[in-house]
Amino acid sequence: MKQIPDMKRIEKALESLDGIQRATPQPYFYTRLKARLNRKEREWSGITGFISRPAYALAMICVVLLVNTWAVMNSTNESSQVSPIQVANDQQLPDEYNVAVNTFYDYESPSINK
């Protein structure tokens, strides 16, 4: 059979924080805090300093230009290399449904075909 624990003991434990005093940090807390703040500021200024260096900025500009050039070259290559199947498919739909738009030239100069 389980024993019932002493309820007084439990109550005593629950009341053990009554009248608790505030804990305080170790002395020279502000000095340590300032050192941490300075360290953080140095880290940040290191990063911003590196980014704002002319060599880094020039390198980044070159990278951006290269990526742009590559993208432009790629897109022109793609547009010039359209497959014959693609062309046929593109033509099929207007042919099938007779939605091809006659040009102004066709209406105005039928005699050319004659």
């Binding site: 629950l14 924080l17 805090l33 941490r36």
Partner: protein, 190 residues
Amino acid sequence: MDERTLVERLKQGDEAAFKKIVETWQDMVFNTALGIVQNAEDAEDIAQEVFVQVYQSVGSFKGDSKFSTWMYRITVTKSLDHERRKKRKKRFAFVKSIFGEESQVVVHPPDFNHPGVALDKKEDAGELFKAIKNLPDNQRIAFSLHKIEGLSYQEVSDVMKTTVSSVESLIHRAKINLKKKLEEYYRGKQ
């Protein structure tokens, strides 16, 4: 110098004002963090992080609540974040140890003793702190702020951005859970 002037001066980057703020509220921040994480080194680390954030983001303090309430909120958030990070690290170390990548020695921290507890209550308080650690976050925060920091229900509700009746309910449920935990502990001892 009153609270509002200090905050205004800190917003302008006045270092003397920052020093005064730290000196005024360092015990409050440290004690709150210590009550939550139950480790003096971690509490010091959190307290420093809290003041770093205060220094960096005082501009976002609009003055809708008391400055101390704002700092309590930062402290509670940082403490909970710290605990989650620690748990994640432990889990990661455990997984690593399973795969045999790194065999770290698992260090079990000694029982926590709050320095502000009277000598004759240390043992009971130690058991109570162990039980507090197992409470759900909301109950633990409400109970700690009320019991360890001595905040009223109204002040706790301001910090937790909830109603007084919610805080009453959280503390009531916390007490029931703590009783259960202590019962289990003392039953095991008998």
